[in-house]
Amino acid sequence: MARISVNNVAVRYSTANANLSLRRTLISVLKRNAANAGSVQAAQNKLAISGVNFELESGDRLVLVGGNGAGKTTLLKTLSGIYEPCAGSIYIDGTKSSFIEIGAGMDFSLSGKQNVEMHYLMRGHDRFGLDLERYVENVREFADLGESFYMPVNTYSSGMFVRLAFAMVTEVCPEILLLDEWLSAGDMFFMEKASSRMEELANTAKIMVLATHSHDLALKWCNKALVLGGETNRFFDSVPEALEFYQQSQ
């Protein structure tokens, strides 16, 4: 049984800005100008999402709908554990995997193989009885990069890079799949392989959360929708209804 429960969650961005540097802080402390310091603080803090509520159970496929800056990726990153909410609570039950910036953390001066090995350790596969050599072999086969697999990643074309990243993150299927845009990669031949693997993943995962601008994908895959729009957002049990609401609100 997998489950995601999001209760009244808000995420606030606070940026480290030069204005908030030690000098500023010291000056404002010395001047005892508390009011001024407060307004600077407020300007630096931005509520990215707030009042988000939803429950997902095994079998649910949620699509996040919203324009740029509506908070789709922020919500995904929060579910991934990158950003800590400033209000509310999130409970997740199930192994999860986030496909956000899938190449992130890859070291360009290491070879493809070394990156795959590192990824294996990062994901903690070593602690759960997944064999390293088999994992590397599977990724190598799927990415199909030939001898380049043993070359530093900075010699790769962007297409090859994506193929490697795609192959290594999708090798193990999680119970909860967090997706920032549907992944597709590579040339025509690889794209076919990639899309069939994506479909397999989306079918196998117990819960999927997908952020996308594509209404076709939303309608094809999802049974629930969350329309995000800054401070207001609405949860729908039907995707067509949600898309209609979204289009009307624009």
Binding site: Y13, A16, A18, G81, Y83, E84, S89, T95, G124, F128
Partner: protein, 278 residues
């Protein structure tokens, strides 16, 4: 063991954020293979495409010691036999301490923390950072072994004290890294202050010169108040085959534990904010 399946985020959770941050510290320690791999990879990266690799560090240290040993020996009127081993250990230990202190501020700014996506505890990067510097330290220590062998210094009877000293030093390093890594993400001016203080500390700490010299001239206070003096002495003296006043271990342990306590407090309190400030 199983993959993690339960996750809680947010201030309204049953498990408090402080508790979760503390768990991050503990979980990081359990990822030993990753910690070691990250540490080794970092070193390999730095000396990528060089013929001699990390040996370069030891070579530059050897050059430094030769010149300084020659000049300092004459300056302080010391036999090379007494001065060079002392200088070597001081510089090697100082290199470790100063590298940890000065680089820890950049740790969370540059570490590939986007990988927390993969449920890597953030503290893993702290431990791999310490591991990397310990490996470099051990590498540099080889130079001392050569010197010790050449001058016939037998430190084996005191080896356990040196190991105890290293443990204290590691505790201190973890404390420093935990606190500075978190603080410096938010306050980017701190690294500047730290590097400034470090530069001064090098001269105010008996590394190039002997502690006795300063004590003889009535400036003992600089030694008494200098935490680095204790931290270096507990490793250096036993390796020189000298007995150390237990007081040094007591003071150094206190310094290390206080630093660790501070580091853990800062980390547990603010770790979850790091991602916002990067």
């Amino acid at each position: 063991m199983k993959y993690q399946r339960r996750f809680e985020y947010g201030p309204d959770c049953e498990v408090s954020i402080l508790h979760r941050n503390y768990h991050d510290l503990v979980n990081g320690l359990q990822r030993r293979r990753l910690v070691f791999k990250l540490g080794v990879t970092e070193i390999a990266q730095r000396y990528r495409n060089t013929y001699l690799g990390p040996l370069w560090m030891t070579i530059s240290l050897a050059v430094f010691l030769t010149i300084l040993g020659y000049v300092g020996g004459a300056l302080f009127n010391l036999e090379l036999r007494d001065y060079l081993p002392y200088l070597c250990l001081g510089v090697v230990t100082w290199t470790f301490i100063s590298a940890v202190v000065s680089e820890s501020g950049q740790l969370f700014v540059t570490a590939p923390i986007s990988t927390v996506v993969y449920d890597v505890p953030m503290s893993t990067f702290v431990y791999s950072f310490i591991t990397r510097h310990l490996l470099l330290f051990a590498h540099n220590l080889l130079l001392y072994l050569l010197i010790a062998a050449y001058f016939g210094i037998n430190f084996l009877p005191y080896l356990h004290f040196a190991i105890l000293g290293m443990v204290i030093l590691i505790i201190f390093s973890i404390g420093v890294t935990l606190s500075l890594a978190v603080i410096c993400v938010r306050m980017r001016d701190i690294p500047q202050i730290v590097s400034n203080l470090l530069q001064v500390s090098f001269f105010a700490t008996p590394i190039m010169w002997n502690a006795q010299l300063l004590a003889d001239r009535g400036r003992k206070m600089i030694l008494d108040l200098n935490p680095f003096y204790y931290l270096i002495e507990i490793v250096r003296a036993p390796l020189l085959g000298q007995e150390v006043d237990p007081m040094f271990y007591a003071v150094a342990t206190s310094i290390a534990l206080l630093t660790l306590l501070f580091g853990v407090a800062i980390y547990v309190r603010y770790k979850h904010r790091v991602m916002f400030y990067r």
